[in-house]
């Protein structure tokens, strides 16, 4: 039986302080917020990269994430290897993203604008979700935690589930990799240049349309990978994508559309805000992120790290 001393340390339960347990409790909750935050970072990084270069807000992002979750579930089910399943989700969504860009989105750049692109991605979202339901069913799948991650590990201050530690580490590695790609490789620099000034890249004689295809694929693959990572945490069910897309939108608005730093900072911030608000006043944990967004917009309409003129 667990000791019943530390009940007093819980907010709302009693007011006696019991410091070491307080630390353990709050650190664990901060980690819970970090898991959500890192996932949101991955999703909104994809959104923001796509927006930066293509100028498209991808409403299908959530449902493409869903493809990642289900592909990963299927591979995991068939092979038992979770790492393989993450790779499969990444590749599958990368390819799917590139196909979508090539076959649908590209026809909207010239004569159409944001309104129709928005609607188009809304339509793609419905279509993809419909296909996911067709293949995997409407009731959702039980996404088992990989066996190596299904217990907790002692992290000195507190114990925490191994798999969730893995999510944090894997997401962080991916974020660093994307950062290095954008800043240290020729292709990445080209993408960043395109974000600043599309026409200039065009003038350099570079095939912008292939660049678009690649960037949309990468953005979507980030979502797909996030989908695979969150599978064991949330399970696989058809509305998972929509559930995560809305807070991801908040992240990009708060962080500033098109800003890498903004997505990372705001993603972690929103994740923590949601979980830690839940700790103190659970009724507000959903609403708080939108209130926060409204406040940010009042004070700084372009978002924390948004650049003037990028979005207007």
């Amino acid at each position: 039986m667990a000791s019943s001393i530390l009940l007093n340390a819980l907010p709302g339960v009693a007011d006696t302080l019991f410091v070491p347990l307080q630390v353990e409790y709050y650190t664990a909750q901060l980690f819970n917020g970090l898991v959500l935050g890192m996932i949101l970072v991955l999703i909104s990084l994809g959104l923001t990269i796509i927006f930066g270069l293509l100028g498209v807000i991808n409403f299908a992002h959530g449902d493409l994430l869903l493809v990642g979750t289900y592909v990963s579930w299927t591979v995991m089910d068939a092979t038992g290897s979770f790492l393989l399943s993450i790779g499969a989700a990444l590749v599958a969504t990368l390819v799917l993203g590139m196909i979508l860009e090539r076959t649908l989105l590209r026809y909207t750049y010239g004569r159409h604008g944001a309104l129709l692109q928005l609607l188009l991605t809304f339509g793609i979202a419905e279509l993809i979700r419909g296909l996911v339901i067709l293949v995997w069913g409407r009731t959702g799948k039980n996404f088992a935690t990989p066996s190596w991650g299904s217990s907790s590990i002692d992290l000195v201050l507190f114990t925490y589930p191994v798999y969730r530690v893995f999510v944090i580490v894997a997401a962080a590695a991916l974020i660093v990799a994307v950062y290095l790609f954008l800043n240290r490789t020729d292709l990445g620099l080209l993408i960043r240049a395109g974000t600043q000034d599309r026409e200039m890249v065009d003038m350099l004689g570079i095939d912008v349309s292939r660049l678009y295809m690649l960037v949309f694929g990468i953005g979507v693959a980030l979502a797909g990978t996030a989908g695979a990572l969150i599978g064991p945490v949330r399970g696989a069910f058809p509305t998972l994508g929509i559930e995560l897309l809305i807070p991801a939108f908040v992240v990009v608005v708060v962080g500033g559309l098109g800003s890498f730093r903004g997505s990372v900072v705001a993603g972690i911030l929103i994740g923590e805000l949601q979980v830690m608000t839940g700790v103190f006043y659970s009724e507000a944990s959903q609403a708080i992120v939108f209130v926060f967004m409204a406040l940010v917009l009042l004070v700084r309409p372009r978002g924390l790290f948004g650049q003037e003129g990028v979005v207007e």
Binding site: L104, R111, A114, L119, F122, G123, I124, V253
Partner: protein, 337 residues
């Protein structure tokens, strides 16, 4: 053959004039709808048409894409139920009270959202609507939360009509309100206010240079649009009796954009056409296939790629070769980041 018909149509069209012809068409549609689809679905269509009409003020005439109008529609529905439960016993008091309250909220949300334009505006309206959704979902003591809520059972007679219990009577009431809104919008569009809105839609910059307080105009348009959405939502609650928070979810915000586009952005008769096509299509779809999302998505994609000017625009282009089709391209250029 087709050419002959087209000429014929053209000559009728020339004589009667486009506006009168479309008004006649609206009246004829309203008259036959209940026979075609039954009173319940016909009523559903009219309710949605009022919603689309309201939405069209901000998108079609103001040129700003809101992705959060489910909030005003849903709050209209919740509002009328809560007002009936806690404040007044008459439905015909509850509806105006609700519309006023929701309009006030749309004034606040409009102020926040209109600090930005384009894609940012769309995302802010979306997030504010999700805030409303989260709050309604959470306040389950008042709203029933995920359980949803039912409108109190009252008779609510209106002269000889009992819209609460008789679907055809409800249809008559909804049609009256639809026509009222229709005439009101027609007048507004042709008023000085409407002309300034149009100017803003064509070029906000130019309107600014001409000395118009662009933000105030758009703000007013946003509030009017919120008011009509709330009215539609209130009617929806009367018609459906039971409502749940899904009414506030972003899916509905997307659907109203779609209905607006199907009917033709910035047209007077478009909303009715959009609502008819959409409701009929989605009812048919859900009854014949479990996988309606696939077809729904495919149709959206099809419309966007093939007929972005909507059905009315398509019709005009095909049959009447009308040069004055609302120029969506210009609107789109404005929205481009």
């Amino acid at each position: 053959m087709i050419a002959a018909i087209a000429t014929r149509v053209q000559s009728v069209y020339d004589r009667v004039g486009e506006r009168n012809l479309s008004y006649l068409g609206v009246l004829a549609l309203l008259a036959i709808l209940p026979d075609l689809m039954g009173a319940f679905i016909a009523s559903h269509i009219i309710v949605m048409a009022i919603f689309v009409m309201g939405y069209n003020i901000i998108l079609g005439f103001g040129g700003e894409l809101s992705f959060g109008h489910a909030a005003y529609f849903g709050l209209g529905a919740y509002g009328v139920i809560l007002t009936l439960e806690h404040l007044v016993s008459s439905l015909y008091l509850a509806i105006p009270i609700t519309v006023v309250a929701v309009t006030l909220l749309s004034v606040v949300f409009g102020y926040l959202s209109l600090r930005r334009r384009g894609i940012y505006f769309a995302m802010i309206t979306l997030a504010l609507a999700q805030l409303v959704y989260a709050i309604v979902f959470q306040m389950n003591e008042l709203t029933g939360g995920s359980n949803g809520i039912a409108i109190p059972a009252t008779e609510a007679p209106l002269g000889p009509l009992t819209p609460m219990s008789n679907e055809l009577h409800f249809y008559a009431l909804a049609c009256a309100l639809f026509l009222l809104s229709f005439v009101a919008i027609a007048r507004i569009v042709n008023s000085p206010f409407g002309r300034v809105l149009k100017a803003i839609r064509e070029s906000e910059e130019r309107a600014l240079h001409l000395g118009y307080d662009v933000n105030s105009y758009l703000w007013l348009a946003f509030a009017m649009s919120g008011a009509l959405s709330a009215l539609a939502g209130a009617l929806y609650a009367v018609l459906f009796v039971f409502i749940s928070p899904s009414l506030l979810f972003w899916q509905l915000s997307g659907e109203v954009v779609l209905m607006t586009i199907i009917g033709g952005v910035g047209t007077l008769t478009g909303p009715l056409v959009g609502a008819i096509v959409f409701i009929f299509f989605s009812n048919t779809l859900t009854s014949i296939t479990e996988h309606w999302e696939i077809f729904f998505g495919a149709v959206i994609i099809g419309i966007v790629l093939l007929a972005p000017e909507g059905l009315i625009g398509l019709l005009r282009k095909a049959v009447l070769d009308d040069e004055k089709v609302f120029d969506l391209k210009r609107l789109i250029e404005r929205l481009r980041p």
